[in-house]
Amino acid sequence: MKLTPELLKKLVRASQKTLSEEIGCDDCFDQLHEFAELELSGKTPEKAMPLVQDHLNKCGECRQEYQALLDALRELNS
């Protein structure tokens, strides 16, 4: 594993943002449908479900799935 300054910055930044209490991908997925409906109804899911928001900020794949879910639901609601 070669450390470049860029990678080291990423690691340090990631460690700075680390919370002792974080949820994993499973817990995020379990709540994602509820989170999505709150967002689409104009509410503030990030306040109601901050741990899900935190996970989405940190996990690129869950974030990608969430964005795709929103795209799908917007189509169904159109």
């Binding site: 450390l3 690691l11 449908h33 795709a68």
Partner: protein
């Protein structure tokens, strides 16, 4: 089940939209699942998945979506019990289908990459036997002795305090940029466990930086 179907057709006639309540979906899809309800759900999933996945699929979007929906329906019917009614049933089902489709695409994209090979290649390229080392000229000649010592310390923390699995995961995810779905598959774990592994590494790094008196903000400045 008959009442649920009648209600559905009545509403469909009135609104030209197929809409079942959550209870009706669950009733109709419970084993043995009603074929019309499965067909209706299939249509809904196909309609939603196309705009959700088109930007990730190079060709044959329709076929990919059909295949994804087929696989998703099996999963959805299998885990109906886990739907607790916090949203519309179709939102929950769409969530399952979206993950199914994106996971498949990630696996296809990275199918020729082995993180074991990447790890071995890295070791062969290195003259130094230490698995963690600073690339090229860094820390650079312009750094003060103190700055270089801090960077050395951080490298030591990463080398000595993180497990081999954590380093392998960080390398695959952060250096190689490989999908975490794929990294998890190849490390024989679920994505959730991989996230936990990396979370523990982040906690370890944060704790050790603090206990060594290293200010992360100053460290970031030095690295800029």
């Amino acid at each position: 089940m008959i009442v649920a179907m009648l209600n559905w057709f009545k509403r469909r006639k009135q609104t030209k939209k197929s809409y079942l309540s959550n209870e009706e979906w669950l009733e109709l899809l419970a084993s043995p699942a009603d074929e019309k309800a499965v067909g209706e759900l299939r249509k809904i999933l196909v309609r939603g998945l196309k705009p959700a996945l088109y930007k990730y699929v190079d060709r044959e979007l329709d076929q990919f979506v059909e295949d994804t929906v087929q696989d998703s329906l099996v999963k959805i019917l299998d885990k109906l019990d886990s739907f607790r009614g916090e949203s519309r049933f179709t939102t929950w089902a769409m969530k399952v289908a979206v993950r199914e489709g994106l996971s498949e695409l990630r696996r296809k994209k990275w199918q020729d990459v082995s993180i074991d090979d990447l790890a071995s290649a890295g070791i062969e390229d290195d003259d130094d036997s230490h698995p963690v080392q600073f690339a090229a000229d860094n820390p650079g000649p312009d750094r003060t002795t103190h700055e270089s010592m801090v960077l050395e310390k951080v490298m030591e923390i990463i080398e000595n305090d993180l497990s081999d699995k954590q380093k392998m995961a960080l390398n695959a995810l952060m250096v190689e940029g490989i999908s975490s779905t794929v990294v998890a598959d190849q490390m024989g774990m679920k994505r959730n466990a991989l996230y936990k592994l990396v979370h523990d590494a982040r906690v370890k790094l944060k704790t050790k930086l603090a206990s060594e008196g290293i200010d992360p903000d100053k460290l970031l400045e030095q690295l800029s």
